[in-house]
Amino acid sequence: MKPVRSMVLVSSDPESIQKGAQEVFQRLQQEVQAFGLEEEIAAAMVGDVGRHDAIPLLIVYPEAVIYGPVKPDDVRFLVEEHLLKGRIAAGLQAPARELSGRIAWLSARKGTLPAEQRIVLERAGLIDPEDIEDYIAHNGYEAVGRALSEMTPAEVIEEITRSGLRGRGGAGFPTGTKWRFVAKTQSDTKYIICNADESEPGTFKDRLILEGDPHSIIEAMTLAGYAVGAHEGYIYVRGEYGLAQERLGKAIQQARQMGFLGEDIFGSGFAFDIHIHSGAGAYICGEETALIESIEGKRGEPRSRPPFPTTYGLWGKPTVVNNVETLANVPPIIRNGAAWYRRFGTSSSPGTKVYTVLGSVNVTGLIEVPMGITLREVIAIYGKGMKRGTSFKLAQTGGSSGSIIPASLQDTPMDFDSFARAGVSLGSGALLICNDDTCVVDLATVLLNFFRGESCGKCTPCRIGTERTHQILTNLSEGIGKLSDLDDLLVLADGLNQLSNCGLGQTAAAPIRDILKHFRAEVEAHVRLKVCPTGVCSMSGRQAKAA
């Protein structure tokens, strides 16, 4: 890292940008120059810092003083006071509230808050994501250096296997096993794909990793390539993630210049390079075989499996597809060892999980916590409780493909196996916390409406099943449902689950089964009493009939 005296970071999550972070940053650069400080002060926009109440935030390291909300006109004063004269401008400091995210972690080190455990987001918000030297100064590319010089590919796979790392893209498949399948398959060409299509509503953890720490993904993909014998990687980034793409592009460029990507990495003779592929707006392209079709320039329709991508993937070659968050775990594991990693989380699901906490809690935002924490803890500790005067009714995990978790399960440890035993799923890492104003029929309707629109239409059970279930749910919400509809829903749900070609159809009906299992009385009220207990559903069909 350049020897700078201070590092100034400006939050640049969408909300901050909306509130003028861009202008603040421009002014910051101007003022730093105007005071002749450009040699001593580094400035960067860092993405989401996990705090959304006083944005845009301006954070000065090493003191970790947080200013916010900062207006462009405040910048001159701040630069003069803090950076030039070294006095903290107390009047502009962000309220010293207890916070979530990155900053919570910073203050936690001072012993004021329960610490989050940061592995994946260790550097996000702390380093300049556009500066490779900053990454290197924070242990960056150490893992790849170690692997290439001291470990055989088999040892890398062994270390990942022993760490117990499981895929964070939704299914929780053991990453070491996946890599071993690909390593075992004989082929002259193999590929590594980073799945950064993240289009589950309510999920944006991957974006924050990519924006905050793009080099970690490059390093992880290089490690994966070395482990399985692949020399080319693709990052499939959701089209809407412009900033992430830009930063990845820069990061790849810098990595090539420094020799971390290219022909002969670290003089080991191992070659690896990475391309960015921008998505074109289709949820289904997050499914790994659809994603592969899309990279090949076709309609993103999932393939029939087997063969799995591990044997027949991109261009028919063995391919590893891993989620962004999964990959971000890889360098720390190689750096610190599997035993270290197993200290976090539970024995069947080691490590941490990044969640976006949304909905009716007092503090929303991004958290990284050990696997196995309970929903009750998340709401109480990181969400700072439910919003005033409301009580917890249910949580919807993992965007649309997740489950509906009723209050009765809020003490179930959140890890892959405990959740599977309880018949729910962790999904993609969103936690939409709903209070008692939320109607389960309405919620299921909106989820099914999403799947109905995003079903690629290739397989009939999914295409028709999502359409039919949505229609029935709409009828219920309009007060024209029949009791037999509820049985039909379950039949359709089974059909969807068992007959669909890919995960979209297979999980589409999960919300339906969840609400009928946990909230049957509320659903039946829509039919028997023709009322929506929460008053959310329009019941308009009934009125139309009566009129």
Binding site: F204, A280, G281, G297, V446, F450
Partner: protein, 185 residues
Amino acid sequence: MRSKAAAKPYRRHIYQGDPLAAPPPPELMVILDRHRGEPDALITALEEIQAHYGYLPENSLRYTARELGFPLSRVFGVATFYNLFQFTAPGRYIIRVCKGTACHVNHSAEILSHLKERLGIDENETTADGLFTLQTVACVGACSLAPVLVVNDVTYGNMTPAKAWEALAELRGESTDGPSKEEVR
């Protein structure tokens, strides 16, 4: 299976007696030339065409099929599959109302129906003055601001139907100089 892409233009034998007898306009040709012979470049080519015209004119799809040697069905199939691609010229402001889960439970549907009514257009339509195109989107990753509305690249958070309409009215005021502010009311 990799489908074969044509390395050379098919123009000579195909354009005879064809409604598209003229070769593609030069600016389109520049784009297509860049991707000749690359079987995986169809999506990229379409993206570039859309970046140039703002949408995908029908003829450009036909030209793409011919020049790059894909069946027309494949080109239409791909173009209609991805939400990114549009087939009509968009308005100056593209309004996208979020109907993701977090926005929905915060009543984004009311915003959508209010805008539909006030603008007099349905989803995916453009107002007669070419100013506004109304679309929906499933989550823009700003859920803590729900309900959310995106106009071109600007995100408007914590919306209500009235606030949403106000924001648009403001844009309309900006887009023409001066007097049309009255028109809005």
